[in-house]
Symmetry: D2
């Protein structure tokens, strides 16, 4: 198997293209021919710094990949050769709520990830991806899309008629926009780029706010909603966003906390949470059950993930540097 | 105020057109100029038989009406003169789950209903209806639409990607079809009429089943869903439907029990409920909070209720007889 | 390994005591020295009739067993040699809601069960049982106790101050009584035996009803609750019980459907479910997550399961016949 | 009616004892002879500073009072003369989730409160208090106890076997301790006083931590729970507490945010909320439905609120100053 991995040093340029021998399949395992991998900010941090995530070296990074099953081990019943599948972020989080135990099975962190042409995963850690998607499109789903789904649907209980605030146009945010639209909600999108906001409108955004020209975007959201505030904020963090999100949310509303980018740069005063009776669930990707429910929605709606740019495997380092530039709208994909 | 009421005898032809003096407004009350009333099967039963519902005579029947506020009493803050409003079914069920106490405030049953040109209601018992609707359209909402909403959204937790089974094309069922479509679900509709099924498809139904020609519709639903069954059945009852609904529903799925028509003619064996871990919530209209959430969804989606036919006030008896014939698709409305 | 199994014929007397060779451990598996097994009505039906449950022969029956880990296979991390564990009913139902897939992993039905001195299970299918329990006591938990827990806690949302109706004094019902008491609820118990009702009072029952002398027990429950009805019924079925449970439950209350005995002999009219806005969740055992949450409660409260009688392994047939007699109060256990 | 009110200046010593004429009863209103009032930190702040809460002057402060009905207006059905009742904090929050509209009906803030011998309230804003309580005891319930109940039960879903962390020994915290014990949970209490911790143990606390001698109480909680953390923190705020609460809570656990004291002095980094998948609901008192459910629990368990000290009406100023000293354990009550 061909891999691109962190061997003994961190940094994008320290990534090595290697060959490993293909391991034999054990009970319940399947071999996947990976066709595409997508990048998340977490992968960039892992490659550059390792940190708490990369618990051992060498490590194949990247949680998100899709391809087809090329071999199955003994006792496998969930998949068969030829099936088009993606891996789930936490290989052992099948259903229910998060537990600490699942962190030992995080792809591209606690265990080897998807940046290889062949990977071996337990059948329980796979989902079939929607028939209308290419592997490149399916590779965008495991982290960003499942995160948005858990935030809006599983924890957020989004329903038709809700108003949703989505911050920026990164991977999670674009999925959140698409999920909001498909669920009959109306979605407000913020960005610092009018061009990106125009694209958000094409994807169905109801209103958009350029936070560079409208600094008090929380106040603007309140105006747009007749003084009431939105039902739900998909909060992806950054300096000072949470204070304005508190303002932008209606009494009894929900702010899904998603640390997709750099984490929350500033600290926040939680008093408005109490006064307004807000709900603040922390969201960290999600379970296989959530992934499969999401896939049904994507399949029924024929929704296509928004891919910004596709890089060949040999240009993995360039792909990571492109992510670093934060110029993208939607997902960055590497074909394998 | 002009009314059409049950005075001393039951039966459609015993309904009387009367004049009553306009009562003064008390603390918190508003006077509504009713523009339209819609009929529910419950109203037909009340007019014909009274039964448990009509607890006193004379009684102005009909729970569903919409119009505009023409006068407000002392202390009123929720509405003002000119507001376009509809009454809520249980005048005292504002939020939360059902309680026995709310039954004493059922419009057109425990208390006088909406079949009059002027009615007096407490401001708490009113909702503003969506701006894109006529009073005739808004008059269809309080009973049938709120029932479907509670069943699918509040109790059912419907989400994008779900598959919903809707039985027939009566008032509740058509709303359930529309709510399913707007929420990103796919909806299967049954009917005995291919013409009605064709109209259901125009409204967005994914699949349709003529239960006259496909008696084993439960089995057909399982086939349509690749052997899995639907996530949710909006069960409106009738002879033998529940057994097939048990078959048609996936493990862990939900069947909302709605006694919209004649009640359940047959009796049922609850064992499949246990084996499949089904949820069977009983649904009886809903609260003001549900009504208002639903109105937001209808407004955002610009959804129009499906009206079968509109009768003038003077032809109220004919409207009830038309309902009795069960020929309608959608709602029957009376203009006042 | 010594087993007691169904080989080629059904019936209590057709059970055979056999020897099987000990299988090697595969990835993730552990070998358990079973110390005790408890009986459920389902085991009796399986031994006598097989039916849908026993999908292959020979079959080692019984879902419920407890003992200690004597050997672990490669990759095992959840348990170690010496750990005191019990098996979970559905070996693959770890968390979340029920799915059809889990039925292929039902102990003592779809796969071999616990009626043996040694069994091999995947580590995922094991839970540690509370330190204050003997293996005999722990063996009572996997089916009956988890069923009651799912019904009352997971699906029922039982809280302090609730009033719970428990029918009879079988395994599930006694656990339901104990769970109700520990949660700060008050529990009403029905039985045909004043002696059993006296024992139920010793376990903390608030009120008891002898349904032989008080046929209209549903009405009696309403009286005991000042006309309101109970919040929750743990419905274990039998002829005509569900109708009275409808009567006994408050508006908006919950009836957990548990087919613990013979299933529901009669059929039922679901109309009261609608009018009263009842919730009827079907309950079929439960997940490992539920089992572990329950174990925490049992451990904190030092609750002891109620064991009626303990039989030695050699008297397995007598134990099953004793269960058939329905004379027991609490659980029947076999030591291995 | 005799009152003690804020007339034209803030400050404890500026409170005035006055006489007002008794207003006539309007539709749905009842007159209550207040027997006892309890103090909350919010009342102290209102008297001293007014702030956002006291929206008009003169204002009768204090949200919490209990007594008996002495007169009922037209149309009253929920209460009758002689009934022992308490007022609900938000007079219009009857059921469901919080909305902005309810704030206009906050007793002792938006509208006159309970610090008077006679008050007039709408029957909807009253609950019957448990029979085993004196009016002094019942007067402790409306704010502190309902807050704890919403946090632990309604939003927290507390169940037997949970481990709960309660901070300090103020009004909300003592109720949280009592609710935890009655629900079969085990409760860890923190305080700076060993004497108060000893009293907490008498009330059923499982473990106690003196945060003056054990600064790293979050770490200590993790040790006490075998490295897992608690299921639920009832977070009452103060400098730096939230960071340690994040540490003390298990993955997927809940921290109910309750701004009972001075609000959160510091600001907090929300990243642990995301990584651990925590839930952070903001809690602001609660609805009548919650109050009534809580009363059932208190009545069944014969739980007595913990009263620190009772002051006569004439010493209202002293009572407020005593609260200011923060020496109390449980509630401070004024008899009227």
């Amino acid at each position: 198997m061909k891999t691109c991995e962190i061997t003994d040093a961190f940094g994008i340029d320290a990534l090595k293209f290697s060959e490993r021998s293909d391991p034999p399949l054990q009970q319940g395992q399947a071999r996947i021919r990976v066709r595409a991998v997508s990048l998340n900010y977490r992968d960039l941090v892992t490659v550059k710094h390792g940190g708490a995530r990369a618990t051992r070296l060498p490590l194949i990074p990247c949680s998100d990949g899709a391809g087809e099953v090329v071999e199955v081990g003994p006792g496998v019943t969930r998949v068969k050769v030829g099936d088009r599948v993606a891996g789930i972020f936490f290989q052992s989080w099948l259903a229910g709520d998060i537990t600490a135990a699942y962190f030992a099975s995080a792809l591209g962190g606690s265990i080897d990830g998807m940046l290889a042409d062949l990977v071996v995963l337990h059948e329980d850690g796979l989902v079939h991806f929607p028939a209308h998607m290419t592997p490149e499109e399916a590779a965008t789903l495991p982290c960003a899309a499942v995160t948005a789904w858990q935030g809006q649907v599983t924890k957020g209980g989004m329903k038709a008629g809700d108003t949703i605030l989505v911050q920026g146009t990164g991977g999670v945010s674009i999925f959140a926009l698409q999920f909001g639209v498909m669920a009959g909600a109306r979605v407000i999108v913020t960005s610092s780029s009018d061009e990106k906001l125009a694209r958000a409108r094409q994807l169905g955004a109801w209103e958009t706010i350029n936070y560079k020209t409208t600094h008090a975007w929380g106040k603007r959201v309140v105006e747009l909603t007749n003084g009431e505030g939105v039902d739900h904020v998909v909060e992806v963090g950054g300096a000072g966003t949470l204070e304005q999100s508190f303002q932008a949310t209606r009494f009894g509303g929900t702010i899904s906390l998603i640390g997709v980018l750099t984490g929350f740069a500033g600290k926040v005063d939680p008093n408005p949470v109490i006064r307004k009776g807000l709900r603040l669930p922390g969201i960290y990707v999600g379970s296989r059950e959530m992934f499969e429910a999401m896939n049904k929605a994507l399949a029924i709606q024929h929704t296509k993930p928004v891919i910004d740019r596709i890089f060949p495997f040999a240009e993995t380092r360039e792909a990571l540097k492109y992510m670093e530039s934060a110029a993208h709208f939607g997902k960055i994909v590497i074909t394998v």
